[in-house]
Point group: C2
Chain length 168, copies 2
């Protein structure tokens, strides 16, 4: 979201306060956590803005892309959740909305009597391609970091994700 | 949130797909954005878990800490939003809930006839201190990164925050 600019970095100020209160040992982690929270807000807001003309959110865009990358353009809902690392309720919401929009359809999973597949429709494939074009040009083209910085940031966060048990 | 572990890094796989589709120029930024989104989920889930026994969320904890750092332990709602870089509705929600919990009170702002201050109560100060003790010991004490890594991560995200216009 757009918030007014401050004359100083509020997270650096919080970090200074942490040190001044005798919590210097915890100050760098507090600053890192707060920075990641804020960076996520900035990026999610930008991604959602870029996708709004297509009536998509970043969460729904991720589902469309995962389906368009899969061999048969269909996946069980449980697998979508595991791959996007979101909880089942989030997948159900996203797929339900995409279904209303005519971009995916739900079909019974022939390999699992109780299970459901989400399948990309032709319109879903078209919208996914258009959205990727917008995202690649308007958003991913310039994060304000050079290639080495992005590489380093990816590696640091990969360590955090791996330590959290996201992948083995 | 807890999600099942995968045998491979799903973001590295998405990045590989991006390159395979001819979008290599946008692949590093896509991977960085997706990594920040996931890191935020991991950290927010952990912070909220650490704070749950105190009936707090990270958003409400941030309001308590900002008030406890301010000279008179009170701040206008608008200033809380600017300092925490969240929108007015989020501040209203957080302060409303903290008021119900008896941790802050709302008082008219003597410097602004239409404005409202949030003021930390004695109980609010006590809970803020207890919560910080929990956060510093259970959460900020170990993010799974060493000091140099946290420093580097903070600097990279500071660049992103500054480029987004958060501070001048």
């Amino acid at each position: 979201m757009r918030v007014p600019s401050l004359p100083f970095d509020p997270i650096a100020e919080a970090r200074r306060q942490w040190g001044a209160h005798g919590w210097e040992h915890a100050a760098p982690a507090m600053a890192v956590v707060t920075s990641i929270m804020r960076a996520q807000q900035i990026l999610l807001s930008r991604a959602d803005s870029a996708l709004r003309p297509l009536d998509l959110t970043f969460a729904r865009y991720e589902v469309l892309m995962l389906l368009s990358f899969s061999r048969r353009r269909e996946l069980p809902l449980g697998k979508i959740g595991r791959r996007l690392q979101v909880n089942p309720a989030s997948v159900t919401n996203a797929v339900g909305r995409l279904e209303q929009q005519g971009l995916v359809e739900r079909v019974p999973n022939p390999a699992d009597g109780r299970g459901t597949l989400a399948r990309l429709t032709g319109e879903g494939a078209r919208v996914a391609a258009e959205a990727t074009s917008v995202m690649n040009e308007d958003f991913f083209a310039d994060l304000g970091m050079d290639g080495a910085e992005m590489e380093h940031l990816f590696e640091l966060l990969r360590g955090l994700r791996q330590a959290a048990g996201d992948f083995g």
